[in-house]
């Protein structure tokens, strides 16, 4: 069960790559790793918090008002995350503030509340939120890294905004004297970057599927669907 949630969040049902939810912040803040990491962490905190809260109240909330109640939980958690960010990562907040408030409208969070936390125990819901959040964070950071390297020729630039002054040394100059590739920094670069990541994921999935098929036909002739994930 836990393994299933883990695989779902990070790969099989990855909110950004498979469910394609929360694309607005995903595309908007992935210009650099630090922006992506900042928003990814904020989203992670909110999704875990909202899943726990929704799961805790799941048997008390009447079906008819569950959506407004969920939205209220998410909105208040986002406001808290925003305040905390203003207090502890002010400079980063200045850059991505607009998208932090937009976490409220990230369908991935309401989707998990409605699709999972409403029907499962607190422990499982927290795990689901954690892995879904991490899945989202990974895609954000990966896309951010891709765009930062292509666009600016650097990696981890400005990490001190998030992790304090000591992190300023993390900056890696990948290409010296790089003339910036503007396309990667602009929104179309984000779309194409995400498209490439999704294409890569599908490629890997197809290959796994094919290997399974070959394996399955050998063992049981005529079987149409065989699950080997738990084997």
């Amino acid at each position: 069960m836990i393994k299933q949630i883990f695989v779902d969040g990070l790969w099989v049902k990855n909110p950004a790559l498979v469910q394609l939810l929360g694309l607005c912040p995903l595309l908007a803040v992935t210009g650099s790793v630090v922006n992506a990491l900042g928003l990814g962490l904020a989203t992670l905190v909110v999704i875990v918090g909202s899943n726990i809260a929704v799961s805790l109240i799941r048997s008390y909330v009447p079906d008819t008002i569950r959506l407004p109640a969920f939205v209220m939980i998410i909105a208040s958690l986002v406001t808290c995350a925003e305040l905390l960010m203003q207090a502890y990562a002010f400079e980063l907040y200045q850059i991505i503030s607009l998208f932090v408030s937009l976490i409220v409208t990230n369908c991935a969070i309401l989707g998990r509340a409605e699709g999972f936390a409403r029907k499962n125990t607190v422990w499982l819901s927290a795990l689901d939120g954690l892995f879904m959040g991490i899945g989202f964070l990974f895609v954000l950071v990966f896309l951010g890294a891709m765009r930062e390297v292509l666009g600016h020729g650097t990696l981890f630039d400005g990490m001190e905004l998030l992790l304090g002054p000591a992190a300023a040394d993390l900056k890696i100059v990948v290409f010296e004297d790089y003339t910036s590739f503007i396309f990667a920094i602009l929104p179309p670069g984000a779309f194409i970057g995400l498209g490439l990541i999704i294409a890569f994921k599908n490629l890997v999935d197809n290959q796994i599927e094919e290997r399974k098929k070959r394996f399955a036909t050998k063992v049981v002739a005529g079987a149409k669907r065989v699950r080997v994930t738990n084997a």
Binding site: P62, M72, L83
Partner: protein, 248 residues
Amino acid sequence: MSDDLDNKIDTQNTDETTEKQDLTVKQSIFRNAVGLALFAFFTAGLIGITQIATKQRIEQNVKAFQQQSLLALMQEGLIDNDLLEDQHDFTQGKFINLELLNIDPKSKAKYFLGFKNGQIKSIILPVTAPDGYTGNIDMLCAISPNGDVLGVRVIEHKETPGLGDKIDIKKDDWITDFNGKNLDNIRWNVTNDGGDFDAFTGATITPRAVVKSIKRALDFYELNKSVFLSHTQIIKPTAVLTSQLIQE
């Protein structure tokens, strides 16, 4: 397997719905309203607690950030007062040709005065370039009493990333070209228009707008010099003193 997880307790939910249908409409509206109100109460409480806990830190951050961005406009040690204490409104009728600065009258933009040992050293003016490539460019410009530019910083802009955004000090040090310039010692135009300021490859409109606006800010200062220089330093009773009084 995962599909099973997602639909697991759906049967239970249908049980609940039939149960609820037994209630009258009034009752169910009432129950839902009370439920939502309770919710609003708890969530608002959570926000309230976080706000109280972070309020002081956020205020400090905002203030420090403002101070830093103002101090960055001039050499270190040029002034010794708290710029945020010495901020002033553009009172109606006090200045002539205020439109040179192009500031939005609704924005409540202020100017700041820097002093050292009670002597005025720097005048910080807000100035907006209305003719950027994509909208307004808001800037701060520090001017010395005799009309030299001490420093310019772009506060807000929407110029194209990678092209026009080189006016931002985080991207390029082009903006420091203004340091030490005054109305007489340089031609106030970009090179393409026969001036002395470099334009960026691929973006002429942005630097042109910035150069013109800074020139206008200098013009404005020359016209209103006497008003600015008549200011004396605001000396507030120190906060330490007042807090001591309360304790006693």
